[in-house]
Amino acid sequence: MKSRFGRRATAPLALLAVSALALTACSGGGDSGSGKLNGVTLNVAADWSGAEQKNFEQVLDKFSKDTGAKVNYTSYGSDVATTLGTKIQGGDPPDVAVIPQPGLLQDLAAKGNLIPLSDAVSETVHKNYSQDWIDLGSADGKEYGVWFKGANKSTVWYNTKVYDDAGATVPKTWDDFLKQLALISDSGTPGLSVGADVGWPLTDWFENVYLRTAGPDKYDQLSKHEIPWTDPSVIEALTVLSGLWSDSSLLQPGGAQRTFGDSVTAVFGDPPEAGTVYEGDFVAGNITSDTKAKVGEDAKFYDFPSINGSKNAVVGGGNVAVQLKDNKGAAALMEYLATPEAASIWVKLGGFTSPNKNVDTADYPDDTSRQIAEALVGAESFRFDMSDLAPSAFGGTKGSGEWQILIDFYSNPSDVQGTAQKLEDAAAAAWAK
């Protein structure tokens, strides 16, 4: 699933920032007191590699400098769950791991592999994070996780030139969203491009609509399959989507065979073939690597519109740090990762969104990433991507489950009831395993 985040063009930025950081790092005196962990060696693992690994290592370097501890970073690649599981079985887990799925945190906690946050760490977490993030890092009433990195999947990206030509404005509500798309279509460019070649963009569409029409509580229940997919709230969300997807005058034709990448280039290519594309903050990376459009000038985004007066809500993802060994050094590192100081090191390097609400948003290197972060920490409710929480047979399999059913729904949006029934059948089968 990591592959969907695409490549991020952060390397040049990172290089620039390295030198800047080298100057500032010396002056920043940590509150953990220098040298108190002298001689301690900590092992840290995460799925970051390449430029992201370099950036994260800078975060760790600061910790070493402040405490005297030596920190070794290992990249576990894209399949963290398997690698970490093997390490735990072999009796050699890292002291701290940063993992991309809350489901994995739940599994490890249930097996007793994780150390709950100490009171001191918990206090730091409560000071810096909203309750939604704390809940996401908890299992069975105990707190285990520090959410170091966040991702915002409630961003709608648009071509500013197409919007200007059509006289369209940034919509705040769903009705206005449809109206602006119609306005763009009137100008001769289809309003919206959807890449429905694979299912995951469609599951993200559904999750954003559902979080707004049904509210966070129902969202939690549906995530755990405590309510069936034939629930009236699902029908309502599908009906809202059906209203958009069945209006062929708003959509770029041929969506069922368009890859997600092509839907981005359709909007930001030259000439633009559509005005708007929805997906998470990683679209900025696709735009930079695949088109000549400049993020922040030619390509901007707005928050996924509110439906029926819903409060601003964000669907997203993130990486959570968990402690696997009970020692002073690991606890100190967990506490450090929960501080805004740790996050802002990577924030300044770019390509990073922190869910830490006390990170100064002025630290973000550009307006777009600042806006993404402000939406993420400012959200009234934050929910993790539902399909990532579901068993992969339902929420992550090419050609079956939620992915395929929503692809079929995109091609035939009038069949709301039948789609809900198919989703329920697939969910029942996947959860029964």
């Binding site: 030509d165 100008s187 070649d197 069922a256 065979q257 050609g399 395929q404």
Partner: protein, 450 residues
């Protein structure tokens, strides 16, 4: 594959006498020598097959015993059953086509100069990996004619004969007294001679209207027997303007055909709009008419065939397969051809047989063993086809293209996490391949004994 090549060439030397007859000690020695190979075969083939068969009787977790439940599910689950059906289509179409094409190429190549060059070209796709070939075909058959070569050709040829309309995609402005009816844009109300009917349209790019277009203006009042009006692009760049109203520099749409239709549906008068979008329909008798813009003004340009849609996708994948494997068939068959004794054909020709008769009565029967080997190899190959089917179809047509091997991978590792059902599919595949394996082994024995 190489072992099959050697079997097709008629054996020239005598096969060695079997050592079986020479006492028990020899048997023990032979067994000892065979032991390492047997252990390897057991570990790498025997054990996995048995384990898969055992695993196929259990559910996804591996704890619950299902008996033959997975085998029943295989034929009742629509997705899995569809993949079994697709495999049947594959087995019927692909090996026969490959073998016939290979035969044609091989026989024809025997008679032309530069045969080696042509053979090389036809055999070349064999050198490309299946995944790469899949990517090539997926790109070539994309729906968008700007990306897919196949549709680019078809659209190009189509446009030579039918250039498409002037204003593709134009739609009526809503709530402006006009509507879409049977693909044509018509006035909502009837108009009598002396009246007027305006057509504010949207959905056309401002850049794409002809440069001769002038700012739209209201049509002159209609005289007796006339209906007038204006057809314009009801859109102002950057927004603004009153929807459905002229002004704000809105452009007229020239060269739009306008029809007056009487109550029986017949077109009684036709006009074309001027540069400012105005038109005059004349020679109308008294009565009431529907004024309409026929669909020929707006039909979307032809965008080609949806090759990778659910209907055609299996055909495209089979085509990709043939593209790769026809070369293999050709090379096998030509090696068989060159091993034939040419004097037989010469003799038939001397006896007055024409080329077709020589081919039917002499060449084809002599080639039959080679053809059977090629055919059976291809059947086995087609039964376990995976890569092309995994790479070519877009998500929306994946279920309609799936085959057993792809389904097996998807349900067990691709996210389905049901290795019970996956094992059952693997066993099905094994059972399907077995008869052809047996035929091949029998043939191999017969060749050796000859």
């Amino acid at each position: 594959m190489t072992d099959q090549v050697t079997t097709t060439v008629p054996a020239t030397g005598r096969s060695a006498r079997s050592p079986r007859s020479r006492g028990g000690r020899k048997t023990v020695t032979a067994f000892l020598f065979l032991l390492p190979a047997l252990i390897l075969l057991g570990a790498l083939i025997g054990y996995p097959v048995l384990y898969t068969a055992w695993r196929s009787l259990y559910d996804a977790t591996g704890d619950g015993f299902l008996g033959l439940g997975n085998y029943v599910k295989m034929f009742t689950d629509p997705a899995t059953f569809q993949s079994i059906r697709n495999n049947v289509v594959w087995v019927i179409v692909a090996p026969v086509t490959c073998t016939i094409l290979g035969l044609i190429f091989a026989v024809l190549m025997n008679r032309i100069k530069w045969a080696t060059a042509f053979k090389l070209i036809i055999f070349m796709p064999m050198a490309i990996s299946m995944v790469a070939a899949g990517v090539i075909f997926r790109t070539a058959f994309q729906e968008n004619p700007n990306l897919g070569a196949a549709n680019a050709v078809i659209v190009g040829v189509h446009d030579l004969f039918d250039g498409g309309s002037e204003y593709p995609g134009a739609r009526p402005r809503e709530n402006a007294g006009i509507e879409l009816k049977d693909d044509a844009i018509v006035g909502s109300g009837a108009v009598k001679p002396g009246g007027s009917q305006d057509f504010p349209l949207v959905g056309v790019k401002a850049d794409s209207i002809p440069s001769t277009a002038e700012t739209a203006k209201a049509a002159a009042d209609a005289g007796g027997g006339e209906v007038t009006g204006t057809v314009w692009l009801d859109f102002v760049r950057g927004g603004g303007g009153e929807p459905g109203q002229l002004g704000d520099g809105k452009k007229g749409l020239p060269d739009v055909t306008v029809n007056a239709i009487d109550s029986s549906g017949a077109v009684v008068s036709t006009a074309k709009t001027a540069a400012d979008g105005t038109y005059v329909l004349s020679d109308l008798k008294s009565g009431s008419y529907t004024i309409g813009l026929p669909s020929s003004n707006f039909t979307e340009s032809f965008t080609g065939i949806s090759w990778l849609g659910p209907g055609l996708v299996t055909g495209v994948i089979i085509l990709a397969y043939i593209w790769i494997w026809a070369g293999f068939a050709m090379v096998m068959i030509s090696s068989g051809l060159s091993a034939l004794d040419p004097s037989l054909q010469e003799a038939a020709r001397l006896d007055g047989a024409n080329e077709w008769q020589v081919f039917r009565r002499i060449t084809a029967p002599l080639l039959a063993p080679v053809l059977v080997v090629v055919f059976i190899t291809l059947i086995i190959n087609v039964l376990k086809i995976f890569d092309l089917v995994y790479v070519i179809p877009p998500g929306s047509s994946l279920p309609s293209a799936s085959v057993i091997a792809v389904q097996m991978w998807t349900v067990s590792f691709g996210g389905g996490n049901d290795q019970g059902l996956g094992s059952a599919l693997a066993i099905l595949l094994l059972i399907l391949v077995l008869p052809f394996m047996i035929i091949n082994v029998r043939r191999f024995r017969r060749e050796r004994d000859r």
